[in-house]
């Protein structure tokens, strides 16, 4: 069971959070300019990294903030957590 450092509430049990998947996927500015394949890449294709991974979590049952977590998908060790816009902080 993961222990996740919410940037605002501090370390909390995984059960308080919702997983949001891969971070750094931003919505295309002009979707119409994209081919179906390009759109599919944004919509469905994922790096699904083995090892160091940047992902977003939501402190659903706490402060309801979304934030970034750097986590190893093999060891599950969390290197740092960040507010969406801010500085990292290690657990």
């Amino acid at each position: 069971m993961l222990l996740i450092e919410c940037p605002w509430c501090g370390p909390r049990d995984e059960s308080e959070f919702a997983y949001g998947g891969e971070a750094d996927i931003s919505r295309p500015i002009d979707p119409d300019a994209l081919s179906d394949a390009e759109w599919a890449d944004y919509l469905f294709m994922r790096s699904n990294r083995k090892g160091e991974n940047r992902e977003i979590w939501n402190h659903q049952h706490g402060c309801r903030r979304w934030f970034v977590v750097e986590r190893d998908t093999v060891s599950y060790a969390i290197r740092a957590t960040f507010p969406m816009d801010g500085e990292g902080r290690s657990p």
Binding site: W8, E16, R65
Partner: protein, 203 residues
């Protein structure tokens, strides 16, 4: 038919059905508060202190803390607080007027929350059975509050100078389940329930 009170408490039915096993031997008591208003305050921008001042409020409590006595402010998130006022007490003008000064947004949540106070040596051990945060007084001490899960239900939990007292704010629709959970889980320590007519955060 006899005139019913306008307000019905989410735990009316539960309290009717619940026979207080506790009595004198209770290691944990639950006071169910009645009559208080709840407001959700949201701020834009960074200068929270100034915005609060403009609303005639004391300085906002820091992250994961609450402040005040009768009129209580709980921190909920980086731009969000919960203001709880006893019924009958004059609420701040900006609430009465319903027009908060920029950059504050206010929502009246009165009626959507149920407030409980747990007390007694059994209070924290009881909560430990359904809550994953570290409730040790050294960690979660005077003036701390946390939104978390208790018995799989979302709650706002606040601790006091007296380590044997914990305040719980529960969403109305979950209240009966949470009460049931407290009663069942607390059975071994003879938990006792009672309504408290007036809310007072300090008491």
């Amino acid at each position: 038919m006899p005139e019913r009170p306008r307000d019905t408490h989410a735990l009316d039915a539960f309290m009717k059905g619940f026979s207080a096993t506790g009595g004198g031997s209770a290691e944990a008591r639950v006071l169910v508060h009645q009559g208080f208003s709840v407001h959700n305050l949201r701020l834009r921008g960074q200068d929270h202190a100034q915005a609060f001042a403009r609303c005639g409020l004391p300085a906002p409590p820091a992250n994961n803390e609450w402040a005040g006595d009768d009129e209580t402010l709980y921190w909920l998130g980086p731009d969000e607080w919960l203001l709880v006022c006893p019924e009958g007490m004059a609420t701040p003008d900006f609430i009465a007027s319903g027009a908060p000064p920029e950059p504050m947004t206010v929502n009246d949540l009165t009626g959507g929350w149920v407030m409980l106070t747990l007390s007694g040596p059994g209070a924290r051990p009881l909560l430990e059975r359904g809550c994953t945060i570290d409730l040790n007084p050294a960690v979660m001490g005077e003036g701390h509050c946390a939104q978390t899960l208790l018995a799989k239900s979302p709650v706002l939990l606040a601790t006091h100078a007296d380590p044997e007292r914990v305040t719980l704010l529960v969403r109305r629709s979950f209240a009966e389940y949470v009460a049931l959970w407290l009663a069942h889980t607390g059975e071994p320590c003879h938990i006792a329930f009672a309504f408290q007519a007036r809310h007072a955060a300090g008491s």
